[in-house]
């Protein structure tokens, strides 16, 4: 029982001892391609995408050399633990379960959510009275579920589905008056904001309050690499201030990123 802990401690010690040398070694960032528009490979084999460009900008800011490692999704966290690379930048959503294994940076990208209604719907999303008694579909256990349950739970009826496909199916059958879903999901499932869509978007994209939408996409580090995480957070703040972040976001996303 104790032996693995001892080994772990030994590994920790050697890790600490080599950390001064590591400042010279290139920083290795892992990503899983393709996941457009976050990361994908170009015909000539080089990587491109929001994560790649942002990661390179962070490295430039930190004045460190960076190396990208391509790793399949299910091996990303184990590879990080095995020190095959130093950080994961692969559109990874921050979650409690992952937080038990890895250390996350501040979220650097947040997916907004959107209210989806039928084309002929007359609901005014800003007016609580018009929501009274309406039936809202969400996928169970998502932040959208928490949002609707907490903020509108006493006026609307929340129906929780196993998948977004089921939510959309019941939107089409008219069982649901509204659905509340992640914007990219709404784009791919119901062509929201497109001419030929059967559904309409109600109101603006939802990005507030922070306690629901704060869990965006983050960079994952080994738990002991707190300094590295701090450096990344500092870099994100600086890049947002000098406009680099916005420029990259505009390049890869149709809608302005938060």
């Amino acid at each position: 029982m104790y032996r693995p802990k001892l080994l772990l401690a030994a590994a920790l010690c050697t890790g600490l001892a080599t950390s001064s040398v590591q400042a010279e070694a290139p920083l290795r960032l892992a990503t899983d391609v393709p996941y457009q528009p976050f990361e994908y490979s170009l015909p000539d084999g080089t990587l491109a995408g929001f994560d790649i460009e942002l990661g390179n900008a962070v490295c430039a800011y930190l004045e460190r050399e960076c190396e990208w490692v391509v790793q399949s999704w299910d091996g990303l966290i184990p590879g990080l633990m095995a020190r095959k690379y130093d950080a994961i930048m692969s559109a990874m959503t921050i979650s409690e379960v992952r937080r038990r294994q890895v250390l996350f940076s501040d979220p650097y990208f947040r997916m907004p959510s959107v209210w989806v209604a039928h084309q002929d719907s007359d609901i005014d999303i800003t007016d609580p009275a018009s929501l009274e008694g309406k039936v809202v579909g969400v996928q169970t256990a998502t932040l959208q579920d928490n949002y609707v349950t907490d903020l509108h739970g006493d006026t609307v009826e929340v129906r929780r589905y196993a998948s977004w496909a089921d939510v959309v199916a019941d939107m089409r059958t008219q069982r649901l008056d509204l659905a509340f879903m992640e914007y990219p999901t709404a784009q791919s499932f119901v062509d929201i904001d497109e001419q030929e869509s059967d559904f309409q978007r109600l109101g603006e994209l939802v990005r507030e309050p922070a306690r629901y939408f704060d869990q965006g996409v983050g960079v994952a580090f080994r738990k002991r690499d707190r300094e590295l995480a701090r450096d990344f957070n500092e870099a994100f703040t600086a890049l947002k201030e000098d406009g680099t972040y916005d420029a990259i976001a505009r390049k890869y996303f149709d809608t302005p990123a938060p």
């Binding site: 256990a141 929780r160 059958t173």
Partner: protein, 243 residues
């Protein structure tokens, strides 16, 4: 009541998962599960008695459709039946404009329909077996008394068949309770739905599901006890003499 509530609140004060609110979810889930299982069993039982008699009929145009119904509903998973009834009915053209839609719009009636049809099929088979196992002597005695077919069925065959079916039917009731756990896939907040909700909220699968397992266990014990009692009363004459 208020005193009880405040005592309960004090008891749960340093519990982050089982607050009054989550217990409320479990409570509502319990009501939904019991309603769903009880109603489907009662309706299923009422359907199963004539079906079981018809199933044993010599007229093929009566027995064959019933055989097919039982075959289909016992031969496919309940989950698939539920999906078909909940998501399938909407593909019937124009159903949204009929009075049926009032019933089918909410998840409760489709789930109830699926469970009822399923349990009726199983119960039909249980009763058919029990009717078939009626001792020849009882039937001959009834005939000797000059009973009509109908009277014999009512006075002799069915009462003794029900008694014989009791243990097997008790099993079916418990199976039905456990099968009802799938109701949450059509958004019904039954006991399992509540447990899933609490699990997802607090990332505590063990606590959430252990608690709901304990509730199911209590329900099962209640059913077991009820059937034990019924068997003792109704099957007393079948016990070995002096036993």
């Amino acid at each position: 009541m208020d005193a009880l509530m405040s005592r309960l609140e004090a008891l749960l004060a340093d519990n982050s998962i089982f607050t009054l609110q989550t217990l409320g979810y479990y409570g509502e889930g319990l009501v939904t599960t019991v309603q769903l299982v009880f109603l489907s069993l009662v309706i299923g039982l009422v359907l199963a008695v004539p079906l079981a008699i018809g199933r044993g009929s010599r007229q093929r145009w009566i027995s064959l459709p019933i055989f097919l119904y039982c075959y289909v509903f016992r031969g496919t998973p309940l989950l698939i039946q539920l999906y078909l009834i909940y998501y399938g009915v909407v593909f019937v053209e124009g159903i949204q404009d009929t009075w049926l839609w009032v019933l089918l719009e909410k998840p409760f009636v489709p789930a109830l329909a699926a469970f009822t049809l399923n349990t009726a099929a199983y119960t039909t088979e249980i009763f058919r077996g029990a009717i078939k196992a009626t001792p020849r002597g009882e039937i001959e005695a009834a005939r000797a008394y000059g009973m009509t077919q109908r009277l014999m069925l009512r006075r002799i065959v069915l009462p003794s068949a029900f008694r014989r079916a009791l243990p097997a039917y008790g099993n079916e009731v418990i199976f039905m309770l456990h099968a009802s756990a799938i109701a949450s896939v059509v958004t019904l907040m039954d006991l399992t739905g509540a447990a899933r909700f609490v699990y997802a909220r607090f990332y505590a699968p063990f606590d959430a599901f252990l608690f709901v397992a304990a509730i199911y266990l209590c329900l099962t014990f209640a059913i077991l006890y009820l059937f034990r009692y019924l068997e003792k009363r109704l099957l007393a004459h079948l016990k070995p003499a002096g036993g």
